[in-house]
Structure formats: structure tokens, C-alpha cells
Symmetry: C2
Subunit: 245 residues, 2 copies
């Protein structure tokens, strides 16, 4: 992500962005093979006098900054992440919206993978802390998310513990994933909307975030392998807390 | 994997191999920072007159064939994968062992991620087809598995559909992950051990494999994101079919 612009790579991700917010696409580049599949997008870009171009594979890699461009690259305005307002939290609670909080997930691939899974299970809100240790939605995350980052709204707050308390005040049951907690299939308070908090790959949840949660949950294992990857643990917990219902 | 030897990188993976089968480690290399943590392993290698050495980071990358060596590289004999015998299938069924079948998972990272999750949930048997499209346990898979490939026995069969039929004959309920199937939390025949089959990242299950399964299962989604990554779908299904019990 540089200069307020972001590159989105791969046909699934670009199509998802086009469907959601076509106006945000500033320029579009693709290789010959992909050109057959992007007629509708090019037509729309032409109508609003924006640039689209079929380029050589080598140039596409240069534009994408990666060989993993999947044949197409969209240049879009980088999103400005903001904090949700108190009124929004209340509205989410009233609609029973699932919320995913990521406490300093540092690896952009994990962020993208979690966004893909969240989108799949209909978890529409992801909240990140304004912390240098937290990966932001950038090229790698958009690529791995396969359109998942277009299916969710991403917010950013100064402190995650304060947001956990605000969610609880708005009516949420906030479950934090921890090394020691209750089984995830144990029900929270019936009828309350649920938010899930996942911690940093190495250090887990910050102490103040864990303390603020209404409960802690742990995926029980065999003990033969120490831990699950955070994107896998997040997927199991999203299925159990949101998808299974 | 070259010349019958395999490199295992990363402290978790090397430690898991050492705990399981120390004799298989032919040579061990590590950087200065990691040297503090490998005293017991070096002592054992010295006693059996095998090579271990602290090397510069650049040399370690050369030995590992990758900069992602995690500070330590073990050279081990590459495993010769064999098919399970009919007697073994009966014994697995009698013990109620969970089995994971991978129908041409092509990406070594997905293989490693699935092995890590399988090990975590106590799924001790993984069966691959003898097919060039199927990733084999190599450097990348061992690194991503974080010791998971040491917690499972990996087998290889000429045809996966025949193995599915043999598992059913031995008493298994074989659930195949498919784009259209029953909900995964629906119970199979009570009391029968369960095997899970996951298909290729792009093409899913082969038609003959899907036809041989006793049932097909699908993770229901919101429809806003088309699919889950196979290592994520596999994790949700392993939790639901094996971990949750």
C-alpha cells in the first residue's frame, strides 16, 4: 500500500471489488489470457473514462509488485479505516451482527485468510487496533482473501479493550480465544449477539483485552500438536459461534 | 526432497521428529541463536557419531534451500510411503481411528496445514493417492505442519476410490467434502468410525471418489464469499467430525 493507493490482485478479488464499489477502481491491468473474462468491467471503466489495459505478464508483475497477480491487477484508493460510533455498535447489536476483533494479527496472509472465512460465514464486521503490530488490509491480504475483504467492513480503533467493553455495554457476548478457556460450543447468554476476539500469532490476546471479554474459549486438542494456526483456529471458532446456527 | 533425503526446518518440526524417531536424523545444522536450545539433541547425535554443526545464517539458508529455515535444519531419510494393508484397515476400524484422505491436494502448504490440524485433533492417519497432482510430504509441508507430520502416519495408495470402498467394508462411515452435500453436523451411522475425504483445491473430489463415499458433506456459507480455503474447510470438518466429540 503506497501513496494512498492499493493494488488488488486476482480475478475473484477484483470482481468482488467491482461488484461492491466499481467507482473505487482507478486503473485496471490484465494479461491476454484474462482479457476474455473482463469485458463488462472494461466497458464500465471506458464509460467513466478510466484506464484499463492488456499488458505483458512481466509488466503486470511490475504493476502488482508480485508475480502472484493472478492475471489481473486493479489500482484502487486505499481505504481510510475509522472507528465505529456508539450508535453503530447499538445498531449492530439490534441486528444481531457477528463481529470479529483481531488483536494484532501480524501476518497479512492470516488477515486475508480470516477475512475470507469471515465473509464466507457472514461475519460482516472486522475491527483492528491502531497498532503497528497489526497487519492492515494491503496487497497480500486482499490476494489471500479471494474477495473476502469486499464482503466485510473493516474498522480500526485506538484500543481494543475499550471496544470489547463498549460491545458488552451494547449487549454483546464477547468470546476471546485463549490457551485456557471454556469449550467453544458452550452457549453464551441466549439471544445475545456474539463477537469473537482472536489474538496475536505469537503472544495471543493482550492481558487487558482478555480481561475485558465476557468469556474465554479454547479449542480442545489431542495434545500431540501444540497449537492451531490462528486462521484455522479462527475458522473453527467462527463456524462454532456463527456458522453452525 | 532430493536423493532420498528430506530437510526438516524449524525448531518445532525438528523437535517433533527427534521425539518420534531420533534415529532418522542423519545431520543437524543450526544458527548461533538456536544453538542454546538444542543441547540434548546434539548430545544424542554425538553419542551415535552423527554430524551436528552450528553454521552461519547464509550457509543454513543454502542447506535448507530456503531462507525460511527457522534457525535449524535436520537432514533425514525421505519416508517411503506405502499402502495400508486390509488387516490394518480392520485394526483402525476396531480402534475407531479417525482417517483423513486427501484427493490430490496439490499445494504443499495446504498439505502441511492440514497435517498440523489433523495432528492437533488426534487424526493419526493421512492417506494420499499415488498421483503426480498430489503434494507429498516435503520441506514446505514439514515447515508449515509445525510438527504435525510427525504426529500422523502418512500412507499412499494407487487409487483413492478403492480405498474408500475398503474403508467402508472395514466398517467406516466415509464423508466426502463436496460443493453440494448434507450439513456436516448431521450424524453418520452411530458408533461407526469416521473417515473424511478432501478434494483438490480447484477441482474438488474426483467423480469416482465422491461416488464411493458413504455420504457427502458441505459447510453452509452466507453466499457472499464463494468458498473456503481447503485447509480451512478441512479444519472445520475435522473439528465437527472428530474434534467436537
Amino acid at each position: 500500500m503506497k501513496g494512498g493507493e492499493l493494488t488488488i490482485c486476482g480475478l475473484a478479488a477484483v470482481r468482488a471489488r467491482f461488484a461492491r464499489d466499481a467507482a473505487s477502481i482507478k486503473r485496471l491491468f490484465f494479461d491476454r489470457e484474462t482479457s476474455r473474462k473482463v469485458g463488462a468491467m472494461c466497458k464500465a471503466l471506458a464509460e467513466s473514462k478510466r484506464v484499463y489495459r492488456c499488458v505483458e505478464t512481466a509488466e503486470l508483475a511490475k504493476i502488482a509488485g508480485s508475480i502472484h497477480h493472478g492475471g489481473i491487477v486493479a489500482i484502487v484508493a486505499a481505504p481510510a479505516l475509522r472507528a465505529p460510533t456508539a450508535a453503530e455498535l447499538k445498531a449492530w447489536a439490534a441486528r444481531g451482527e457477528a463481529v470479529l476483533l483481531l488483536d494484532r494479527i501480524g501476518n497479512a496472509h492470516n488477515l486475508g485468510a480470516l477475512a475470507r472465512t469471515a465473509g464466507f460465514f457472514g461475519v460482516n464486521k472486522i475491527v483492528l487496533p491502531d497498532d503497528p503490530a497489526a497487519a492492515r488490509p494491503g496487497e497480500a491480504a486482499f490476494r489471500v482473501a479471494e474477495g473476502g475483504l469486499e464482503a466485510v467492513d473493516v474498522f480500526c480503533v485506538p484500543g481494543l479493550a475499550a471496544l470489547v467493553r463498549a460491545l458488552i455495554a451494547a449487549g454483546y457476548d464477547v468470546a476471546g480465544a485463549a490457551a485456557r478457556g471454556g469449550r467453544p460450543e458452550a452457549k453464551g447468554r441466549e439471544g445475545r449477539p456474539v463477537a469473537l476476539v482472536l489474538g496475536n500469532e505469537e503472544h495471543g490476546l493482550a492481558a487487558d483485552v482478555a480481561a475485558a471479554c465476557s468469556r474465554l474459549v479454547t479449542i480442545p486438542g489431542s495434545g500431540r500438536v501444540e497449537s492451531l494456526n490462528v486462521s484455522v483456529a479462527g475458522a473453527v471458532l467462527m463456524w462454532e459461534l456463527f456458522g453452525r446456527r
